[in-house]
Every structure is written in structure tokens, then in C-alpha cells.
Symmetry: C2
Subunit: 254 residues, 2 copies
DNA sequence: CGATAATTTGAATTAACTCAACTGTTGTGG
DNA sequence: CCACAACAGTTGAGTTAATTCAAATTATCG
């Protein structure tokens, strides 16, 4: 493996997890450097995909997990009538496809919201490696468990919150996720449409639009189309102090 | 290990996963019999817990996963104000505590809805064993992944369904889970209150009550307090043909 | 048996939805 | 490079599904 060429090629480029800024959010977290190297050797990096392209769709055979490296991805299902139901948004460092381990096939679409690079992790190899590296096995279990917790928080949000609280929670989640990735937590661009946000939060797109307007009127946000500036983070947090379960954490992610 | 006493004692009773009717729904599924035996040796069986007793609470240190053997458990969070938010119901063969792997502490309450026996799986031992038994590692990943899928279905249900569809979906999920466990899929007792069901489905308890009445009037159900008879399974299924995503599966469980 | 809790039913309220119209943005081809 | 089509977002008005509040009824348990 150490013999592999170091010539840069689009297909077979050597991925350097060790140098990746997302490593602490990702699978390598907590691993010894020689183990990180073994992990690197199974990672495939493909060409970035363009906005609108699918990474996988429902029914596709499950081969790999994917980690977003740059860009953003939405996962969603579709009704026979053609309506989309957004399941989640995935930012750099976040892992996709965990729901497919179960029955070896994907259950939803994964579509790039913008030009997006992903690291591909062939699952069989990953699983095999995990038996040899206990720390990797543990990290995989942790990532799955984090997804379970995040989704449980989402369920709680949908069950017990008003439209206002849902959007506040969504914006705070984004803010925190950007912060952890070294981006501004108060000034960012939304990769998704109002419709996507509405679908994700169980709201009509008109409701989302009205709430953005209201938040702006209240001085909480400045919104210009996809561009969001959080002007009063504390006020935003205040909006969901009430209905929040004691031990919940907001950030759904890595 | 074969030397272990066969004397029955309350504390140290030898658990026979191999003979357990739930084995195909549980961790042993797919394992070689000698591996099942190694698994059995780390399983602890404690005294059954009584209705209302807690298995764990938020903040508790995470030591073990639990599998319901008989009875039923609900998991829930609590707001500072004291309102319960039900996260899920767990029937025999279903696993509890997966959300706690993430940060080594439980994030919710787990309370027995009736007299309940659980198998306790000390997580460190389980993880250690999983590095030695690839099939066990795989099964653990599968169980986590199933939980992720089930929760994603729940999110979809809450986002896109009416009260009627939610209750229909809930009843069908119970029906299917009972069927798999060898119980009647059309005649069963609810272990939880109307309030619990409402909290789980994001509905007011009055709405749940009214829907039970309506379903009964429509000849779909016969309801007598906790006792439910499904008279027209097809009709019930019909209620959620519409808003259901293409590839969703209804059963949240094992 | 009596008290407390769970459930049912009714009536009024409301948060969010749907429908509809309009505005602004983006991308495309003549 | 502009015109136009297609799309995304905003705003308004009326509707509705589910809620809240209230009261009556029915279990459950010591």
C-alpha cells in the first residue's frame, strides 16, 4: 500500500484524512495515526458532483457510506404523486447512508444542493477494517448512535414545537454546525430552498417565508434570499428554551 | 464455559439465547451457535421490574444495552415543567439504549409500562466481543441502522400525515410487531395510555380518543379501553396508502 | 367504597394550511 | 444583450384540522 503512486489523478488520488480539517468530526476521530492511514487506504474520492445530481436513490444497492467533504446534500423520499419529503441536510463532515446498512439498500434519494465533494467509504472494507481496529468499530457505533439521538431530537421537535420554534431550532442547528466547521455561526448562506426547509420541518413553505419575515422584523435576523445573518443569537435561543427537553442537544451532527 | 453451573438462581441464571423465541429478532440473529454461546455468557438477567419502575434516566452513566424479553417499556424525556414527551415504545425483542452509545450517558427515561423482564448487555463486553465475532459486529451495526431507518420513518409520518394517518400507522406498526412475535396481529392489549399514544404521535390525548371512537364507528376497530381488535386491516392500511413514501417500511422494530 | 386517575365527549379557539395573486430572480436562447 | 420563461419567494385572505378548555363518565386501586 505504501507503494502506491503519489502522482495526482482524478480517480485514484490519495486522500489524506490525517490532514483533513474535518477529521475530528469524522471517522478518524480518536484513532492512532497508523490506523488513520489504513482507513485512508480504503477511502475513494470521486469527482465532485454538480448541483442536482444524485449520489444514490431508493432501491440502489448499498455499497458505500459517504462523507460530505465540501458542499451540501439533502436526503429525501418521494411519494408516488411526486412530492418530496426532505429527511435531512448534510454539511461537510457529516455522514450519509447509515440507514442503508440495515437491509443493504438505500431507502431515500441523496441529491447535491450545490457542487459537492464526498469521500466514499466502501462498507464491506470498512466493516472488515473495523474488526481489526477496535477504535474504528467504536467510532462507527458512536456515529450511528449520534444519528439515532439526532433523529430522536428531531422527532421531539416535530411533536412538541410551534412553527416558530422549529425554524429557530433549525437555524441554531445550522449555526452550530457552521461554527464547528470553522465558518461564521452568524453569517451564512442557505443551500436549500424555502420549500426544502418547510418539508424538513413539517411546515408549508409559506409559513417558512412568513417566519423569516417576522424574525427580520423582530431584529433577530437579516435575511436576503439565501443569505442569513443572525443578529440576535440569544433571542433566537430564547425562542426554544420552553419546550426543550432537559437533556437534549441541538446539533444533529458530527 | 460449559462448566458453568446449571443450578437455577435468580441472579446468575444462565440465559439461553439459543432457545429464546426472540433470537431471530435480536442480536444472535445470523451468528454461529458457538458465537451465540459466547454472547450468552456476557448477558445478565436481572429481576423483572414492575410497572412504573425506571430502567434508567437521563444523565445516568451508560453501561449496558437492554433487550425487552417480556412486557413493554416506554422511553421519554421530560421538560423542566414536567411534561413527558414519549420517544418510543419497546416490545419483546426490541433493544433499548442505542442513543446512549454516543456520549456514554442516557438521554431519556426508560420506564416499564407493565411487569417487564429485560436482558442486560454490558456494552464494553459486547463491543469487545464484536471485534472477535464479525457477525456480531455486523448485527450491531444493522440494529443501529434499523433504528435510524425507523426514526426516519417516524419523522416522515409526523411531517406529512394527519392525525388519522398517524394513529392508523401506529396501530399497524403494533399489529405487525405482535405478529412477528407470534401474537395475534388483530387482537391485542395496549400497554400505554391514550396520553402516551398522543405524546408519541404528536397529538392531544383527546384527539387520540376521538379517533379510536371514529375507527370503531367505521367498523375498522373494536376498542374496549386497552383492548383493541382490528376488524378491517385492509381499511386501516388504506388510510395511509396516500402519503406514504415509496420505499418506507412500517415496522419500526426488530 | 370512595378517591384518584383515565377516558370520552362537546364547544370554542387557533395556528398553520391552502389557495391565490404578485414580485423578484435566474437562466436561456434568439 | 435583452426578452421571456420558469422558478423561487413573499404577502394576503379565508379555511380547517387539531387544539384547548370544560364537563361528564368510567375505571382502578388502596
Amino acid at each position: 500500500m505504501g507503494e502506491k503512486s503519489k502522482v495526482v489523478s482524478i480517480d485514484g488520488i490519495k486522500v489524506a484524512c490525517a490532514n483533513c480539517s474535518l477529521a475530528t468530526l469524522c471517522l478518524p476521530y480518536g484513532l492512532e495515526s497508523q490506523d488513520v492511514e489504513r482507513l485512508e487506504n480504503i477511502v475513494k474520492r470521486n469527482k465532485p458532483i454538480q448541483r442536482g445530481q444524485l449520489l444514490y436513490g431508493p432501491g440502489d444497492h448499498f455499497r458505500s457510506l459517504y462523507v460530505v467533504k465540501t458542499g451540501a446534500v439533502k436526503t429525501f423520499t418521494q411519494t408516488p404523486a411526486g412530492d418530496e419529503h426532505v429527511i435531512g441536510f448534510h454539511l461537510p463532515g457529516e455522514i450519509l447512508g447509515l440507514d442503508a446498512i440495515q437491509d443493504n439498500q438505500h431507502g431515500c434519494f441523496a441529491k447535491a444542493l450545490e457542487t459537492t465533494a464526498v469521500c466514499e467509504l466502501p462498507f464491506e472494507k470498512l466493516e472488515h477494517l473495523a474488526t481489526a481496529i477496535p477504535g474504528l468499530q467504536h467510532q462507527m457505533l458512536r456515529l450511528l448512535s449520534r444519528e439515532v439521538s439526532a433523529e430522536a431530537n428531531m422527532i421531539s421537535l416535530l411533536n412538541n414545537s410551534t412553527a416558530e420554534e422549529r425554524l429557530a431550532s433549525f437555524l441554531l442547528s445550522l449555526s452550530e454546525r457552521f461554527r464547528r466547521r470553522g465558518f461564521s455561526p452568524t453569517d451564512f448562506f442557505l443551500a436549500m430552498s424555502r420549500q426544502d426547509i418547510g418539508s424538513y420541518l413539517g411546515l408549508a413553505l409559506e409559513t417558512v417565508s412568513r417566519l423569516f419575515t417576522r424574525f427580520q422584523e423582530q431584529g433577530i435576523l437579516e435575511v436576503d434570499r439565501k443569505h442569513v445573518k443572525i443578529k440576535d443569537l440569544e433571542h433566537l435561543k430564547q425562542l426554544l428554551r420552553h419546550h426543550t427537553p432537559c437533556h437534549a442537544s441541538l446539533n444533529r451532527s458530527s
